[in-house]
Every structure is written in C-alpha cells, then in structure tokens.
Amino acid sequence: MSLAGSGTAHLRPQDQRLLSVEDLHVRFKTAGGVVQAVSGISFDVVRGETLGVVGESGCGKSTAGRAVLRLGEVSDGNIRFGDTDVLAADRKQMIGLRSRMQMIFQDPVASLNPRRPVRQLVVEGLTVTGASADERATRARKVMDSVGLDYDRFADRLPRQLSGGQAQRVAIARALAVGPDLLVCDEAVSALDVSVQAQVINLIEELKAEFDLTVVFIAHDLGVVKTISDRVMVMYLGKVAEVGEPEALYETPAHPYTRALLDSVPTPEVEGGFAGPALAGDIPSPLSPPSGCRFRTRCPLAQDKCAQEEPQLRQATTGQYFACHFPLVPAA
C-alpha cells in the first residue's frame, strides 16, 4: 500500500457512511516547531452507530473531533458528512451543517456562557435560524424535558448554579435543540463524578435511540467506551493504532498499545491489581514523532523494522484492523 496515511482498509462502503474522514492531517505551527497533532488518520461512522475513540492525552483524539466539526484547523485531508464535503463548504452550507453536527465538551460548566440563564442557553442554536421567541420557549421546555431537567426549576439558573452533571445535561439539551444527526462527545464525562458519569452515559444512550443519533464518543477511559461503542478506535500520537468491534478489540487486541492500555485498567482483585506492566515513559513529543511506527519507543516488541517502515492498517483474524508489524493476533 502506498497511501500517505496509515491505510484505509478498515473503511466501509461509501453509501453506509454518515461521516467519513480520510487521511486527516492537523499540524500546528508553534515557536518550537510544527506539532503533528493528527497525522493521516482515516475513519468512518455508519449511520446509527457509536464510534468510541480512545487514547492517552495528546494523541490527537480531541483535535480530530474538532477538525470534523471544523472547529479547529485542518492541514490536509478529506471530511465528508452525508453528501457534503465539510472542508469545502461555504458559510451558508456550514450553517446548515452545524445544526446537523453537534459537540459536547469536556468541561460542562466552561462550555456554557456564564452570563446566560439555562432557558437561553438550551436554545442558543435556534437564534441562528431566527426562530421566534415562542418557538424557542416551547423548544427549550421540550429539550430540557428530554435530558431530565425540570424546566421551571432550572430555566432561570446561571451555569455557576448548576452541578457538573446538570451543566452537562444543559449542554446536551442545547445540542439536541437544533436536531443533529451526529453528536461528537469530546471527553464528555471525564470531568464528572463516576456516579454522574453513568447517568450522563445512560442519558446519551437513551437520546441516541430516541433521536436516531450517530455518536462519536471520545474518551480516555476504555471501560466507558466499551459499554457504549459499536466500534472502537485506538489512537496513538496522531495515528490510528487499532480499530474494530469492541468484543474483538478488548478480548484479543492485536496492537501492543491496545494490550498495554487494557493492562493498565485496574482489575478488582487485590493481588495483581494490574494485568500487566505499566506503559513505561511518556508519549513522545508530537514535534518530532518517532520514525516508522510511532509506538516503537515504548513497545516491548519493537524491532529494527519498526523504525524503518510505517505499519499500515491490516485486518486481523479476529476481525479488527491494526497497524503493527508484529501483532499479537495474526493478520488475516
């Protein structure tokens, strides 16, 4: 394969995809050099599916999420949403697109304007299209009801008078109000208490069914992602390491990085609380990523080939796709 990126073997037929991203590059120029935040990743999301994206901080998962919604810079690549080329969309098309693609942010309180009451916040998106005050009020009541917030109690509250979970519900209501097809949750539960996390995740699941949503769920917690995803993508330093159905990926990971991530999840047993050795060292600097396979500097299986040749995505016998020269599961 001679593609610039890490391969597209895992992509599904065009007509099924709601969102497809091909060979996405995001580079930031900084004083210290060019940060390669995302380096040629490709992925797709089929209508109605939930794609979980996991990886350590700094692996480019949030950058990729923002790029899809054109909220961040895109250096290169191709993003299609439905029939629309997202990167080529003009201002008018973009306003239409924005109502179909919504995002939930990590810090729920920071994602709400501190000077607006909930009643206004949840219907922010409708003012763009020029909905009347009556329409907005009706809609506000409806979406707040959908996310389990009592309109009369919360309507006049300001964001700082909400708990993290309540604020995240408001943010979800705001996204729902414009009737989106795609919901990108960028670490949407990472900042919440564990009990509240479960509630918000359940809520997203329910809303997904109720409103026919397609969800991209970005998180660093493998456990969270496993429960809700139809497909999981593991990212490392701006590249896709492994992608596939959660069953295959969690039971029989092919990429040593996925294995390492799974091993660093604590198990309930007291003895040997961790299944394997912790990942040594830090994620390398995206200013000068390692040659060949980017994981090789921390990989227990790395050999000379890994430094010279970049692995392309291949399918494993267990069904998932991985980018590794020496996989833990044989290639199909």
Partner: protein, 343 residues
C-alpha cells in the same frame, strides 16, 4: 452490551442532585435560615419533637443534636459606606451647584483672603480675590468630576472595544492596536497632557481629549487580557458550533464577560483623572480663569501657603477624599464583579 465499570444504577432521567452547587451570593442567608430551623426545633422541646421536626437536619440520626451552624459573620465595610456617602454628597452638590443659594464663583463678595465666618458663602472663607471658597469648591467639583467621569466613560468604551477586537480577532489588527497602546503607555502622562494643552488652546474639550487619550491604553490592556481569557473557553467554541459569526460571538458572547472587569477599573481611573486634571490646572494649563477647578484653586492659593494655608488645604482635602473614596469603591467593585480575582 456487557456491563463495564460504568454501568451503575439506572437513575438516568433524574438530575443527580437537587441543590444548586452554590447560590449566587455565597452569603449568610442559607446558613442563618438553617440555624433558625434548628432553634425552632429546640424550642418545640422534647427529643420527639426534634426527631420529627429536624430529620432533614440531623440526617435521621436519633439522639444526636442537630448541628448548629453559626451564621456567617457579615463584614461591614464602614469605609466603603463612608466613601459612597462622600461621593453621593459631592455628585449631588456638583449637580445642584447652579440652583444652590451660593454666591457667584467669579465675583468678589468681600476682602481678599477673609477668614471663615458664619455666613454660608463665607463658611470656608474667601480666596485671594475675595471670592467665596465654598462656591468655588462646589463649582470646581462640577468641572473635576465631569471631566474625570466623561473621560473615564469615553475611554472605557473605546478601550474595551479596541481590546476586544485585538484579543478576539488577533493578527495584524492586534499588532497595530497593541503597538499604539504601548507607544501611548511609554509616553510620560504629564508630558503628553502638556503637549496637547500647549498645541491646542486649553479648554474643556481639549482637556477631555487629552485625558481620554491618556487612559485608553489601560482599558485596552485589561479588555484584551480578559478577551484572551474568555475567548479560549469552550462556550465560545460551542457558539461557533451553533453557526454564529465571529462578530456576533465577539460582541454577544465574549464582551458581556469582559465588561465587569473593565468597569471595575473605572473608579480607580476616574480618580487618577481627577488628579491629572488637578495637576494640569496647577501648572496653569487647565481651564481658563475664572472657571474654578480643584487643581486651579490649589494653584491660586500656593503663594499664600504660609499665611493662609486653608486656601490650599480645602481643595486638597476635597481631592484627597474624592480620590480615596473612588479607590475604595473601585476596590469593592473589583472584588465584587471581577471574577478573575476571586476564582
């Protein structure tokens, strides 16, 4: 879907806690309310009554006295109230100056430098030309306050918008605005004012222009700093994701958050402006005679410092009290409205 670490209780649809994280003013009201409830329970007497009346307080632990939460001590800021009182008095007198039964500030009513006496116009004595000091002080307040406030408000408006534009739109606009700001800040203020006053003829408008230009940079800087801070928040990104344009986001989403911090700076700046106007008048570059201003009165009295120090003392005390009061109010405004200081 298999049960992972997160699939706990099925409480979805219910908000997780019923109380807001914090009420707007973290004041004493809730605490004292709780105490009075507990007191009532105790007055009702008997452990039964207490158990019935206070389960929500004691959390259902029988036999344990409900905790008594002392009400938060409210700090009374005497200085702030005195400051507000002084400013109210000054503003009121200045505003009512034309209708008050005061002597004309430009006409002599007695011997030069007459000592204070019982008559209203002579309460504070007469100046070098035999004019009522009280009348001149009150009319002078009009000029000093009006100049300070007008220059302050105009500079706030211009400075905030420039800072917002620089901080939100960045790029070349920012470079240009910040370069001008830095140039202005590097200029010694008095030299700038002297230059403006000598090139243009000293008049109310000239002074207003000079003083406004002088303080715009302070507002640009704080507005830009605040804009940088607020524009980086996720709610700005969320607004973009809703399809709002950049101008609307700058003025409707970011600006309302920037304004409080900028306004908190206003009283302090007005105080500085009154001092600046005083200095100019003292140097003879203020408003032309016979219009009184506090700085001008000090200037007029400087030759009689030894014999009649009250000629300088009275306007000096007026300036001192006003500046002090404005700074007190400014400090309070900052701690109350500028959330960047508290958080």
């Amino acid at each position: 879907m298999s049960a992972g670490p997160v699939s706990t209780g099925k409480a979805a649809g219910e908000p997780e806690n019923s109380e807001p994280r914090s009420t707007v003013p973290a004041g004493a009201a809730p605490a004292s309310a709780r105490v009075s409830d507990a007191d009532q329970a105790r007055v009702a007497g008997g452990s039964l009554a207490q158990q019935v009346a206070a389960p929500s307080l004691a959390g259902g632990m029988s036999g344990v006295a409900s905790p008594v939460v002392p009400p938060l001590r409210k700090r009374r800021n005497v200085l702030l109230w005195l400051s507000l009182g002084w400013m109210a008095l000054v503003v009121l007198l200045a505003a009512l100056a034309p209708v008050l039964p005061l002597a004309d500030y430009s006409a002599p009513i007695g011997f030069p430098r007459a000592d204070p006496s019982g008559e209203l116009d002579q309460w504070l004595g007469l100046d070098n030309q035999g004019r009522s000091v009280l009348s001149r002080l009150i009319h002078g307040a009009q000029v000093s306050l009006l100049l300070g406030l007008l220059a302050g408000v105009i500079a706030t408006t211009i400075g905030t918008v420039l800072g917002l534009v620089a901080g939100y739109f960045r790029g070349r606009v920012e470079t240009a605005i910040m370069f001008l700001t830095d140039v202005l800040l590097a200029f010694p203020p008095l030299v700038l004012l002297l230059a403006i006053s000598s090139i243009l003829r000293p008049s109310f408008n000239t002074l207003l222009l000079g003083l406004t230009v002088l303080v715009i940079p302070s507002f640009v800087r704080i507005s830009r700093a605040q804009t940088l801070n607020w524009a980086a928040r996720d709610f700005v990104l969320a607004a973009r994701n809703m399809g709002f344009g950049r101008v609307r986001i700058a003025f409707r989403e970011v600006l309302p958050n920037v304004v409080p911090s900028v306004l908190a700076l206003l009283p302090t700046i007005v105080a500085a402006l009154i001092v600046a106007e005083g200095s100019l008048s003292f140097l003879g570059l203020g408003l032309p005679a016979p219009t009184p201003s506090w700085g001008g009165m000090i200037s007029d009295g400087k030759d009689f410092l030894r014999l009649d120090p009250q000629l300088i003392l009275i306007p000096a005390v007026a300036i001192f009290l006003t500046i002090f009061a404005l700074n007190q109010i400014g400090d309070y405004a900052r701690s109350r409205f500028d959330r960047t200081v508290q958080d």
